[in-house]
Symmetry: none
Subunit: 283 residues, 2 copies
DNA sequence: TGAAAAGTTGTAAAATTACTACATTTGATG
DNA sequence: CATCAAATGTAGTAATTTTACAACTTTTCA
C-alpha cells in the first residue's frame, strides 16, 4: 500500500531509466511531491514520458495521482522504507538505513500481529506450571531475553542453550508446562524434534516462528510475525527485534493478567537490584 | 498544520461560495483529492477560480498543492507516540501500545545517534585482535546477540554471563583487545569494575550505555542512545531494542569495512547451517 | 435612498502541466 | 550482423490550472 515501500521492492522490475527516477524520488521524496513532471524528469536525467511510465508501473493513474500517493506515504507516520545497505555506504547511510528498515519491518509486524493468538498465548502462559524458552543461534538470545523477563515473575522458568539440556528438559515436561520455541525460519531440525518430544509428554508447545514451517506444524499455538527479513547481510536483524517485542507483549500481558498486587512484586524484584548498583533505576 | 482542521476553523473567514467548496470537501474528502478543479467546482456549484481562491486562502500554492496537503491530512495515521500501557488495557491495546512506544523510542534513538562515534567504534572493532561482549541482566541477552553476530566474522569473540569469568577474561586482556560493556543505566558495579580492570591492561573499553554514567566515565568510547525508557513495567524494553540495533549497525559497519570478499565468507558460514535445517534460508 | 467603494464571483483566454503517438535508439538473440 | 523486442525520447496534443478582467453584489455613508 505504501508507495515508497513499493518503489524499493519493485526495484528489479524497473527499467534502467525508471530506476533513475526511483533513486531521485527516494533520495528526496519531499522535493518530488513539489515538482512538476518536467522538473522531476530533468532531475533524474530522463524524459517526461519515462517519469509517466514509472508512475503507471506503480499502479497509479499518472503523475499527479502518483504524487498524491507519495504525499500520503510521507504523511503516513511511516517514512520508514526497507532500503538495503549497499557496499559503499558510509556510516551515516548505513546507520540510518538500518534504523529505518528495522522500523519498516516493525510496522509490518505490527499490522500483521494476531491479537487473538497473542491473547491465547498469554492465557496459556499465566496458567503454566513451568515455562521453558528455547532457541538456537540468533534466536538463543531472544530466548535468553525471555528468561530474563519471565524470571522476574516468580514463575519457574527454564532456559538452555545446549540442545542436549533442552532435550532432557522437554523429556521431563508434562501437562501444564509450556515450552516456547523460537526460530525465525522454523526449520531447525533439533528444535522440531524438541517440539515433538514436548508434545508427546502433553506439554503445551508454543512457537515463535514463521507459519507453515515444519516447527509451526508441531506446535499447539503459533505466534507468527510477517517480517520481511533483510537477507543481504546474511544475518538476522529485523526478525529478531520483532521476536523481542513479542516477548515484551507476552510479558506485559502476563503482568496485566496477574493484576495489581503482582506488579508490586515486580517492583520488589527490581528494588533488590539496588545493592549491585551505584544509584537507582533499572537495567 | 492539518488542512482539514484548518478548513473547519477558518470557516468564518470564507466567503459564501468558498464555504460551499469547504462543505463539499468536508463531506467527502476522499472524492475531493481525486477530482480536478473543474469537477470540484461543479460539485460545489461555483466557478473554477473560486475553488482556486479557496485553496490560496488556506495558504497553499494553488489547487494541486492543496490536494497534496489534503491527501496528507487524510493519510495522517497516528504517528508513533509513547503511550503507556494501562491496567485495564486489553490485548489489542497493549499490543499496539508496545509496538508504537517501541517505535517512538527508536525514532528518538535514530535521531540522537552519533555517527562519528559509531564510525570510530567500527574502526576500533575492525582493528581488534579479540572482542569481548559483557552485560548483565537484560543486557546479557544483548551481549549474547552480539556474540552471535560477530562470531560469524571469524574474529576471536568472547562472551560470558558469569561475572567471575568476565573478570578473569578482562584480567587477561591487553592492548589491541576491545571490551564492549553493555548496560542501559551504566550503574552496575561489577561492570564498572570490569571496565577499570580492562583499561588497566590497556585494552580498549567501549560502553553501550547512557552517557555521564559511572560506566561511561571508565570507557574509552561511549555509544549512548537517548532512549526514553518505559519504567512503568519495571522491565527494560525499548532500551534493549535500541542496543540491539546498535549491534546491527556495528556489525554492518564491520562487514562493509572488511569488503566484498569478506561477505562471501559470511555466506559460507550461513550455508554451513543448512545441514541442521529442513530447507534453506537463515535463522 | 442612492452612489461610490469594496468585495465577490464568473467568463474567457493564457500558461502550465501532463499525456499520447510515433520515431529512434538500445540491446538481446539467432 | 541481421532481426526483433524492449526501452527511451521527441514533438505535438490534450488536460488542467491560473490569470486578467468584467459583471455583479454588498456595504457604507452622505
Amino acid at each position: 500500500m505504501n508507495i515508497l515501500e513499493k518503489i524499493t521492492q519493485h526495484n528489479a522490475v524497473f527499467s534502467k531509466s525508471e530506476r533513475k527516477v526511483a533513486e531521485v524520488i527516494l533520495a528526496n521524496p519531499q522535493t518530488a511531491i513539489h515538482s512538476s513532471i518536467a522538473t522531476l524528469a530533468k532531475m533524474s536525467g530522463v524524459s517526461e514520458p519515462t517519469v509517466n511510465r514509472f508512475c503507471r508501473r506503480l499502479d497509479t493513474k499518472g503523475y499527479p495521482d502518483f504524487k498524491l500517493h507519495l504525499a500520503q506515504s510521507l504523511a503516513n507516520g511511516t517514512p520508514y522504507v526497507n532500503r538495503h545497505v549497499e557496499e559503499n555506504d558510509g556510516p551515516e547511510e548505513y546507520t540510518h538505513k538500518i534504523f529505518e528498515s528495522t522500523m519498516a519491518s516493525l510496522e509490518v509486524a505490527r499490522q500483521s500481529a494476531d491479537i487473538a493468538t497473542i491473547n491465547r498465548a498469554v492465557d496459556l502462559l499465566t496458567q503454566a506450571q513451568k515455562i521453558s524458552f528455547f532457541g538456537l543461534g540468533a534466536s538463543a538470545s531472544v530466548a535468553h531475553d525471555a528468561l530474563n523477563k519471565f524470571f522476574r515473575f516468580n514463575v519457574p522458568v527454564i532456559y538452555f542453550e545446549d540442545i542436549i539440556m533442552q532435550r532432557m528438559s522437554c523429556m521431563n515436561s508434562g501437562e501444564g508446562d509450556v515450552v516456547v520455541l523460537i526460530s525465525h525460519t522454523g526449520r531447525t531440525k533439533s528444535l522440531v524434534e524438541i517440539a515433538q518430544i514436548a508434545r508427546g509428554n502433553d506439554a503445551t508447545v508454543m512457537g515463535i516462528t514463521s507459519k507453515d514451517s515444519p516447527l509451526a506444524q508441531e506446535c499447539n499455538l503459533v505466534l507468527s510475525l510477517e517480517v520481511p527479513e533483510d537477507t543481504d547481510m546474511y544475518m538476522p536483524m529485523a526478525s529478531r527485534i520483532a521476536q523481542l517485542i513479542l516477548i515484551d507483549i507476552l510479558a506485559t500481558g502476563f503482568t496485566l493478567r496477574r493484576g495489581n498486587k503482582f506488579r508490586e512484586n515486580l517492583k520488589r524484584v527490581k528494588d533488590t537490584l539496588r545493592g549491585s548498583r551505584f544509584d537507582k533505576r533499572g537495567d
